[in-house]
Amino acid sequence: MTFAHPERLLIALLASLAFALVYRAIERRASARALAYSNLAFALEAMRPSRLPAVVVFAALLAGVAALAAAFAGPRLVARVPVKDGTVILCIDTSGSMSATDLKPSRAAAAKAAARAFLDEVPAGTRVGIVTFASGASVVQPPTDDLDAVRDALDRVPPPNGATAIGDALALAAQQMPAHGKRVIVLMTDGVNNRGVDPVSAARDAATAGTTVHTVGIGTNGSGELIPGTNELADLDETTLRAIAANANGTYASAQDAASLRGAFRDLARATVWEKRRFDGSTLFAAGGGVVVVLAFLVGFAAGKFP
């Protein structure tokens, strides 16, 4: 938290001190209306009253006054808020190698689960779309703020089959982006680009248009996993994925198992669809302080019953 007028904090401190002094003065004057009792020491020893309520009320009053005074200094708060006018497109690899089972139950199933984990972190109002790619790229779900529709679209993701056209997926996803707002592509792949346009160029073009590309690599290199139906190793081209992210102001993450894949997507969601924003907390401080002061007065100064 910062303050637009930090010099006014001194005034806030003085106001709080002044309040404490006035409070004490009021207490002393109110003593004149106290109920006379024969022996105060006996009464206190008999009742053994708790000091906690009085301390809580005084502390609440002081905190409320301090908040009111601090509001005068223009507090600037940082809050994690949903990205305004954000659009995210998930590019999901559906090439044949995604049927490998090194991630349980399969890379494809783990990818869908990770996508659902991503959607769970997306706040209302953010648009999400799905592009799948194998030998070519296709839009499964255009960007929409109806997250239930996006979840339903995950069920329409085709089964793994075909080559890996990473660059085509990036280009298609970039085309789906709106002209304004925060634009993010999350690319999830387990393989090497072997079809279509160069993915690094596509990422560079997307970045030029204002889109950020994050990449997630699935699988393990040197696992010995073969692309089903072939004798090719299901290796991961981490170099290219890192280059894509670097050229598009994004990040690269790898996941060797389903849990870490879900975790990676969850982290990406928090980093992409939420942002820290500063806002003027004066109203909040003033309102909060005022409510606390009023409540504390009502509770603390409510007249006790006297005979």
Partner: protein
Amino acid sequence: MNPRLRAALVTRRRRVGTTGAGSPRPRRGDGYEFAELRSYVAGDDPRRIDWAATARAGDLQTRVMFEDHALTLAAVLDASRSMFVGRDRPVYDVASGALSTWYALASAEDHCTRVLSDRVIEDRRRRGRSAALLCAEVRDEPGAPLDDALRIASLTVPRDASLLIVSDFYELGALEPSLRRLAARCDCTALVVRDPWRDDLPLGGFVRLRDAETGATQRLFVGRRERQRFGVAVAARESAVCEAFEAIGVRAAVLAGDSERALLEAFGLA
């Protein structure tokens, strides 16, 4: 006048020089009522020699008189500031009522005094008004410390007098030396004024209490638990004070409002 109380006062008063509660026998000494004739013994007042009886008997005969059953009723009423608190009226007024009941036990021959913090009021015979009433009507200065009155009482109240002390006795520890001296000198009865909020402390929430004696104030939170503790503590204090009085030879009871009942309790008649 309550005859039972009067009789108890006469018969149960503790008398200096006697053991136990004292038997209801008259003490031989100067008085107005003839008791008997007996032979003269050295030390008899020569003015009591009955010459006619001496002539008949042939040796000196002394008239012995019954001490009439005249009592000396004295009272001390605590007028400290702690006695001027109360629910509907100050407890001082309740205590004053006890004095009226006490002096109402006086018969025409009795002597009544009222000990204040700075002087002693003797009974004055006025037409149409009883001495007891006069003594009861006198008010001490508010704020006068009880210990002053007790010290004066220990110096002025006649031996074997019947002394009533009415107070809240919050400072019983400090008063104990004076009370012991009085208990050794005369027959003492103490009435402990009941706390007006003993059974129902109607405080709730944040309240402010002021000590009636010192003026010190304290703001405190009173809830159901605090009220319960207060009631228990007040009842325990009353019992403890009465027990402490019994230990120093003073009969005691709690004055809750009905002073006659309180005196009957003190004398074990309730």
